[in-house]
Every structure is written in structure tokens, then in C-alpha cells.
Assembly symmetry: C2
Homo-oligomer: 368 residues x 2
DNA sequence: CCAGCTTGCTAATGCGTATAAGTAATGCGC
DNA sequence: GCGCATTACTTATACGCATTAGCAAGCTGG
């Protein structure tokens, strides 16, 4: 009794049709001689407790049928049916695989992938408005991520309004990097404050009494945090802080020149700390100035870097400082996102950085 | 006449529930005083031609209503209804984000992402080892990729049987790298043959008459292609080919030693060409042997590399050879995959490599 | 004046899945 | 042997949207 459909609309877009349509639960069901619902029960219970009311024999038949057909659930349908599809989105506002700053997101993604795999999630890379070509990269482009169970957002220039909306809608969202201005937005970030503070304390323990932070003219949270940690470190060591301990580079005349370096040293400064940025500008400027001033690094003064050195300076002696544990950051982000998806409480958002002893610090030069 | 649902099942999983249910097309419709179908027509026709049979007045009412409610379409529902999900899979048999061989797939992925974004596709990353939900890393893990509209496969050690099955099922699959042994498998690859041939012709034009190819003991298509191009280049230049023009390194005794190098030179060989591999073994061996033999590169002999130098040798003088346009390869792979998904004819699978002049070649040394 | 077209919309249906509700069939205690 | 719980399923329905058949009204033309 094949009831002939009254209005079948097979043959959608000519393009979309082409394919032998991957197997559906209905086909698995037919092959196994059960109903579609049974297939759904068996397959979704697979991971969960075995408590479902399906006999082992039937279960096995269904599983065999599914395997032999190569059945894979349709994520959109799963999602629509209001379950979850074990997909986590990753959305970056720059290209996810940046051309120039290779090292910036990559290690992070390594951690993301690893942790996601360990938790049984697959990743969907939502290609942001990244490079040209994308259609009207309007705000609705962001909504694609709702296909996944939750989404990780990378990049600084995030459209807050859109994110806010998602958060308000209860869509699980985690941002990489501290983001406290948006109430309710979950984020994970490196604990730059503690790490920077620790570097300062290290210098203080070596005997340095006047330390200067060289930073760039950028007010990203990552910069602010480092400065805060730097100042906290000074305070903890009982050293003078204040605005003169922080030097902020700016284009016109505020650069780190050999002259300025000498004048600092003349004032009794014996150690310098540079913030890390994408370009490594502050660190480069310091190193160059030291070289040009004819000074030698661990002997005449100590240098520390609040982060990892740029990869093209890999040949240089390893700077004292700390490493941002990007793998762990990625993993932490996934853990937090998974927690949100599961409706559990979020965990600690700060990930500790690892202190790196390095070879650019030593005791202050003898009094001369 | 609000017909009361018999079995509403609001209140799914406690976790999944928590969303303030953003507006649906039905609500927009109610507000605009039209049917849901009209809303769908208006909204989906927005981008397309205005040829839809909806009056401008109604259209405007719907658009206003949608805006005032802040309507955004549910991507899951859209995709379910449209029978495609705009997802392309990327399956690599090593980790997608390998820790060590960063540079091998990375540039390729850059191109993949860019092109995918341009075409409105998102990417799903599958990894051979991890393979989301299914812990069983068995061959059925491969089936997970069917979640996407099509899939890109990277890596040498691809289980042919499984791929064959997918291809036979009509699932769109593109392999990165030439793969002609599998009938019907689409692939994109770099045109190593032409590029290698061009390098040889370059050497011949410089006056070299005896050239030797140093390759590793690996029969990957990429190696074979280079050798073929090398031999074709010799032939095109009217130079002697044959087996003695190709040196195949092997572990036990067949290595490129300074002695062997000298003996080649004594026989009249003036130029050497190394194949590029993951490790850059052949090239390293050549360079080392040249150094140890006390020879100087562009003067005493010419060297060329059939590919790009390993990144850790970035400081060395740039070798003559060619660059594999990995970005373009990735883009080409996506284009081909998109074509398959759309049921169109596939395009040219070979991507041309760019000749790189470099500094390691010159004329043959004067007769001595 | 009505067949036949066009215009502008609605009703109905399906996409693939999850799940609540329903139905036999069996087991168990008394 | 009856009520009731349990097991093992199946049936029905909904998720939100796209699509298409269909309907009503307004035209046209002969």
C-alpha cells in the first residue's frame, strides 16, 4: 500500500539534489526491521547509560545496520529536534589560519582540537568575515554558529552587540581572552597579572631595585593586565612603582633609544621588562637599543619579556619571562564551553602562565 | 480556535532548554498579519531577484515586523529544509593541527579556509586519531565525515578502500595530492612534473650537461612526479637521462657522502637537484656533503631544490627551485569540492608551481 | 461573459531527528 | 486470575523553515 504522495517536492534546487543521499535513520530502521524511533533510541543511548528499554539483540541489529550503511546523523536535524549535535563552533574574526602571525592562534587551536576530541566533540570552523569574498558580512552571518551546540570566539574586534544577543538567548559562548565589559559573557584567558608579577619578583630577588616596564601604546586587556601585574610585583617587593616605572612607546618621539637607555641606567635602573605583543615591538626596541648602546645583556642590565619571544628571534638567547600556555588555554576554553553546553557551572577562567628562567637576567651590575 | 496541543514536549533536557526562545517566522507573520510562508518568501527573496509575487506593501510590512522583533533565522532549520548544510569536511590522518610539522599542512589550510569562506562554506575538522564521539578509531570513524556536504582528505596514508566506498556512494570527496590509482577519486595536486622539468631546463640553459637527481627512498606520487619531471627536463634539453642520473638514498650504504660527491664531479657532473620532502632529507644531505667536501655552492657546482627549503634553513641562501603554491592548492581543492557538491563538472586538478630563481645555481665551473 | 491568464497570498507538506505517549506482551505478588 | 509494573517497542508529533500546490481576486480578449 504505497500511499502515493500528493505533493512531493523532490527536485529542489537542481544543484542540491545530486547525490545518493546519505542514509537516514529510516533506512537503517528498514534494514534492521524496526521503527525509526527505535533507531534513534539505540543510537542516542549508545553513549549514555544502557538503561534504555531496548533488547540487546535489537540494539545489535540496529547498530549493525547503521554501520553497514555508514549512517551518520544529520547535525541540523539533531539540532532542530532540540537535542545537541556534539559540534562546537570556532569563530574567529580574523582568518582562523592567519597568514602572517602564524603562531598566534595555531597553538591555541591545537589545544582546542585535543580537548574537543577527548570530550567527543567535533569542531566547526566558522569562517568569519575573515578574508574577502564573503557575502554581505552582515551581523546575521554570525548566527550561523547556532548550528553548533556552542561556540568559541577568537579575536579582538568582536561585535559585542551580537555576542550579547547570543548570550541573552542562552546560546553557549566562550570568548578567548578576558572580556569583562560584557556582563554574562564567559571567557578564558591567561593570568598575565600573576605571571607579570612573578617576573618582577624574580628580578627583585636577584637584587634589582629599579625596574622599568616598556610597553606599547595599546590598551588591549592583555597590555593592561601585564602592567597591573608589573606594578603589583613592584609593590610586593617593596619597590617604587608609579608612572615613571612604566614607559609607553608612541610613534612620534617616545621611542627606546640608546640615549634614553643610558639615561635610565644613569638614574639607577638596572632591569627592564618588555610586554609581549603580536609584533614584539617593545622587546625588539629594547634589544636593539641595548646593542646600539654597546651594553651586554645579563652583565650590564637585565631584560625580561612578559611573554614568549617572536619566532624569528628564536636564535637569540632565551629571554627571562613566562610562556603563555596556549594549548592549555585552548583546552580550558573547550572545557568551559562544554560545561556551558551541559548547563553546568563554569570553571576557573584564568590559566596560569609558566615562568621561564631564561638567560637575560642576572644580578644588578656592581656599583660603579 | 487555538487548538491545544495534545502532547507538547516543552521542557526537554534541563540544560538545553534555557533560551528565551527568539522569534520565529510564525511570530513575525502574526505581527505582520500574513502567513508564515509569506514571511519565508519575503525573507528568502531578499537576496535573490525581486521576482517573487509579493506586493511591495506586504513585503515592507513583513520586513518591518521582522526587524522590530529582531528575527534571525535558525540555521539548523534552514539547513534541514534546504537539504544541505554548507559544511565541508577536512579530514587529515594526522592531527589537523600537528604540533611538530606545523608548516606542512598549515599553508594549505589557509587557502582552504579563504576559499571556503568566499563560497559560504564552513569547515568541519575531523581527525583520524581523535574522531569525535566515536572512540573506536576503526574505519567507520571515517564515516563521520558524511555529516558534511563533502570532504577534503589530506595525508598520505589514506585507507583507499574506505574512500572508494564513499566515492561509490556518490559522496563528494577530494584528495589533496595526485591519486590516480583510485578510479573516480577527485584530487588536486601541484604540477611537480612541469615544475621539476623547468628547473632542469634552467640548469641546462646555464650550460650544465650532467645533472643528478638526489631523492629519498619513498615512492609517494610526489616523489615519482618529481623524478619524471626531472627526466623529462633532461630529455627536453637533449641531455642523457637513464638510471645513473637518479640517485636514490637508502639507509644502509647509499648516502650522499663527500666522497660520493667528489666522484660524481670527477665524472663530469656539475649540477645536483634534490627532491623536497617533509624532512628535507635529500637537500640537507646534499648541503652537508658540499660543505664537508669543502666545495662552494654556486661556484664549484650548482644545486637546486624541487620545492621549498625547510623552514629551519631559512637563513641559508635561497635555493633555486620552485615553490608549491599551497594556498592556491587549498583554494583549488575547495573549488573542486564545491563543484562536486553542486553536481558540476570538476575543473583542472593541477596547480602550477612558481619557479624560484634562487642563489644556488650558476654556470658550470670552467673546465679544469 | 467566460476561458484563461496573472497577481498575491495561504495551506499543506516535508526535511531528519528526538521524544512523549501509546500498545502489546510478559512477569509478579497475592 | 486480576491488577499493576516492566519490558520492548511503535506511533505520532514537533522542531523552524522552504517550497509548492492551490485558491481567490483582478485582468484580458474574443
Amino acid at each position: 500500500m504505497e500511499q502515493p504522495r500528493k505533493g512531493p517536492r523532490r527536485g529542489r534546487t537542481p544543484a542540491a539534489t545530486g547525490r545518493t543521499s546519505r542514509p537516514r535513520q529510516a533506512e537503517v530502521a528498514r534494514l534492521a526491521g524496526v521503527s525509526q524511533a527505535t533507531v534513534s533510541l539505540v543510537l542516542s543511548a549508545k553513549a549514555k547509560a544502557q538503561g534504555s528499554a531496548i533488547s540487546d539483540e535489537t540494539r545489535q541489529r540496529v547498530l549493525d545496520a547503521a554501520r553497514s550503511l555508514g549512517y551518520v546523523p544529520d547535525p541540523a536535524a539533531q539540532r532542530l529536534a532540540a537535542a545537541r549535535n556534539n559540534l562546537l563552533g570556532v569563530y574567529s574574526f580574523t582568518a582562523t589560519f592567519p597568514t602572517d602571525v602564524e603562531h598566534s592562534y595555531y597553538p591555541f587551536l591545537v589545544g582546542v582540537e585535543r580537548e574537543a576530541a577527548a570530550r567527543g566533540y567535533d569542531l566547526v570552523l566558522f569562517t568569519g568575515s575573515s578574508s574577502g569574498g564573503a557575502k554581505a558580512a552582515g551581523p546575521e552571518a554570525l548566527n550561523r554558529v547556532r548550528l553548533a551546540d556552542g561556540c568559541l570566539f577568537l579575536g579582538r574586534h568582536v561585535p559585542i552587540a551580537e555576542l550579547k544577543r547570543m548570550v541573552a538567548d542562552g546560546f553557549p559562548v566562550v570568548h578567548l581572552g578576558r572580556r569583562e565589559e560584557l556582563e554574562g559573557l564567559s571567557w578564558v584567558g591567561a593570568d598575565y597579572v600573576s605571571a607579570s608579577s612573578e617576573v618582577v619578583r624574580h628580578l627583585a630577588a636577584l637584587g634589582h631595585r629599579r625596574i622599568v616596564l616598556v610597553r606599547e601604546d595599546d590598551d588591549a586587556p592583555a597590555s593592561t593586565d601585564r602592567q597591573q601585574g608589573f606594578l603589583e610585583g613592584l609593590e610586593a617587593a617593596g619597590l617604587p612603582g608609579g608612572s615613571e616605572a612604566v614607559f609607553r612607546c608612541a610613534d612620534p618621539g617616545r621611542e627606546v633609544t640608546p640615549e634614553r637607555l643610558r639615561s635610565w641606567i644613569a638614574e639607577g635602573v638596572t632591569a627592564f621588562v618588555a610586554e609581549e605583543t603580536d609584533t614584539g615591538g617593545a622587546w625588539r626596541a629594547l634589544r636593539t637599543a641595548v646593542d646600539e648602546a654597546g651594553l651586554s645583556c645579563p652583565d650590564d642590565l637585565s631584560l625580561a619579556l612578559l611573554g614568549s619571544p617572536p619566532s624569528d628571534l628564536a636564535g637569540d638567547p632565551q629571554p627571562t619571562g613566562f610562556d603563555v600556555p596556549r594549548h592549555q588555554l585552548g583546552a580550558a576554553a573547550v572545557r568551559m564551553l562544554a560545561a556551558l553546553v551541559a548547563g553546568e557551572a563554569a570553571e576557573e577562567p584564568l590559566v596560569a602562565c609558566a615562568f621561564r628562567a631564561g638567560a637575560t637576567t642576572g644580578g644588578p651590575p656592581g656599583p660603579r
